[in-house]
Subunit: 429 residues, 2 copies
């Protein structure tokens, strides 16, 4: 019999934790071939050891005693799969401090307390990996850190929330926001309280992590400008279709002139753009950089087994590179300023509702022109004496577009505040 | 000044080699942050040192003397970026034998001589990496070997040749094979002699490498069943469009009941399938496995800078993991038999041209039914007393479909041999 030589400790033993244990058991030979080591779960910290588990832990593995877990010399690497900020954060800090490498599946923890956690890891000289915290099985963190180390990635586009992507796919087929939410809830894609998904907060945490890794500068959850999908109406979805586009909740991280902008919001995506084809509960991340042009990774962004697969990959990488200095460091090494929101540039879509009087369109166009914003496409529809105007604007600074729209909103003919979304175009509009 | 501590030797200093040198120079700090080492090109083996280079090598770096290169103690890792089977193969063998780790961008070499090269690497205890040999900047080898180590990947679908994908995109917009080839040649996507691309040989070498890594069993270039795009006619492209599909040159590697089937051929891809959206000269690889469902990686599959980016990533990985035992081994660890071609299962598309006489369709359908092959879709078009019949067949064994088609071909009413392609369906037809 080969000897067990790397003991794994799990913080949490729910759906993900059970799957991690099952994979380590079933793939022990594959992992030994890749790393030269046999991995085995020796301890799992849980609240209730009596609970039924999908894949039972071995005798004596479950424990409720964190101090004993922390001080257990048999635990050489820890996987944090319990979720939540507290007590997960305290546990991870204590374990790093005790010299144990940690891999975490916890996006909120990494996005909010990353700076402090990586400092703790660095002080102790141990690794903290977090592939599973973003987009489950899609290996975007590894690709950014290892494959694209010299690619100067300057833009990350992501569909990183499956719930909202499912809902938007459903609205595209013709349905209200409420219908789409009810369907997502019925199918288990959305929680009873869907706020974290539909507000964009879940996507914002993931984009904060991705931007940090891509640009090497800390982006915290609070640094992400975030707008959810709650205000979307069928009229916007239909207008997008008319313009040959679809609406997606998109995370956009941009590195421009040494400053960083990270945002999550609904955007119109041209049908020919690779992100337009990402359907249902799938996630996709597009990385644009000097050497690679663009690389897109697509796959299931959630799920217990999918998340566990990323946790196991991180465990394998920690064990495989222990002591080498390779990627033992924080991905973040510089402090870049935030790009003022007004300087962020994009093509934009604007939906205007105006009373149908001569000259309104000319007046609106002249306000845009005064701010150096030019119109790429315009569709006008008449409805009972009112007109809906759909505009696609060429790439412009957000500040200029906002200023023009404020002036347009002040026209007496404008019936509702203008509705504006960025456009993701295959080639710069 | 920090000291240079890892000397890199380049075999070849053309487009890719120059780009590798430039990236190592420009990203020396990024690489030091990731690995703890500073990398520098100390020697490059070339035929003609006097030739102009896009990024000049330093003084005394270019050499024509292979023995001196091999024995140079300053060269700690080698990147083979010269291409071709000979002398590249002899050089790589000699360098591995001399204890130098090698990263190679040479798909023909890895696909044909992989077994021998990995044995040489293993005997010498050094690494042989080959990310750049498949799909340039798309990090599919790393993802398969490191991120999906426990995912039991059982199917790899790939659009791995940009030239043919560009040509098929062009035929889709309405053009003959000859027009598409001329356009690809004019734009520099196809060589003057396009045989390697249009025959599928280039794609077959890449699929052999991907299947080897995915299934852990050696698949050689000669093991790949290969059919090119030369026989495609506008009638097939139009029929595909009518059926809601597009034609792509697809690599399909399947692990079924412990046997392996790897093939490259044109296939009909449903429009809703992620591979259908891969346009122009881009490549994409879809990995299907137990834990991950499916992960798709898409990006530029060729180009000097893109290939260099993968070479540098491999250099970084070799330096970062040297001496750990992590992935120092051949990706191939078992010997699986080839699945008999007749047992390979897929949905299929069949194009039949028949004289328009009563009963032909019923007769054809009865031959298919006799082989347990059922029809999913049928479109019949009449043209001057002849009929074109487009059939989509539900998933069936290739042997049964072939047998039925042989019987159908023997009907006097059948004007041309039936034309059959597999179908890539989002959900099994």
């Amino acid at each position: 019999m080969a000897s067990v030589d790397v003991g794994i400790g799990l913080l949490g033993y729910g759906t993900v934790g059970s799957s991690v244990n099952r994979m380590l058991v079933e793939s022990v030979d594959e992992i030994e071939r890749a790393t030269g080591h046999r991995l085995r779960v020796v301890r799992a910290l849980v609240r209730d050891p009596a609970k039924e588990r999908p894949f039972p832990a071995g005798d004596g593995v479950l424990t409720t005693d964190f101090e004993a877990f922390r001080d257990d010399p048999d635990i050489q690497v820890v996987a944090e799969v319990m979720g939540g900020l507290s007590p997960a954060g305290d546990y991870v800090r204590a374990l790093l401090g005790a010299g144990k490498p940690v891999v975490s599946a916890n996006k909120q923890l990494i996005a909010r307390d990353g700076a402090e956690l990586f400092a703790a890891a660095s002080a102790a000289g141990v690794q903290l990996r977090f592939e599973a915290s973003v987009c489950a099985a899609i290996p975007v963190v590894k690709v950014l850190r290892e494959s694209l180390v010299v690619s100067n990635v300057h833009r990350v586009l992501g569909i990183v929330n499956g719930t909202t992507n499912f809902m938007l796919s459903s609205m595209e087929r013709g349905g209200s926001y409420a219908d789409a939410l009810a369907e997502a809830q019925a199918l288990g894609y959305a929680e009873a309280d869907p706020t974290d998904d539909v507000s964009g907060a879940d996507a914002a945490a993931k984009m904060a992590i991705l931007a940090t890794v891509a640009f090497g500068s800390r982006v915290r959850f609070e640094d992400v400008e975030c707008r959810g999908i709650e205000e979307l109406e069928p009229v916007h979805v239909n207008a997008a279709a008319q313009l040959g586009m679809v609406i997606k909740l998109v995370g956009i991280a941009t590195l421009l002139d040494g400053a960083v902008d990270v945002r999550v919001q609904p955007a119109l995506v041209e049908r020919s753009h690779p992100l337009a084809a990402v359907d249902g509960a799938f996630n996709a991340v597009m990385l644009q950089g000097d050497a690679i042009r663009e690389i897109t990774l697509e796959g299931p962004g959630a799920g217990g087994v999918e998340t566990a697969s990323a946790v196991v990959a991180d465990l394998v990488s920690v064990v495989g590179t222990a002591g080498t200095g390779f990627l033992q460091n924080d991905a973040c090494w510089r402090e870049l300023p935030r790009l003022p929101s007004s300087e962020w540039r994009s093509p934009f879509y604007v939906h205007l509702e105006v009373s149908d009087r001569p000259g309104v369109l000319a007046h609106a166009a002249s306000r845009l022109a005064a701010h150096d914003v030019s119109i790429a496409q315009l569709v006008q529809r008449l409805e009972d004496g009112a007109a809906a105007i759909e505009l696609v604007l060429h790439r412009a600074a957000f500040g200029e577009v906002s200023a023009a729209l404020r002036e347009i909103a002040a026209f007496p003919e404008v019936l509702r505040p203008p509705f504006v979304l960025p456009v993701i175009a295959e080639r710069g509009l």
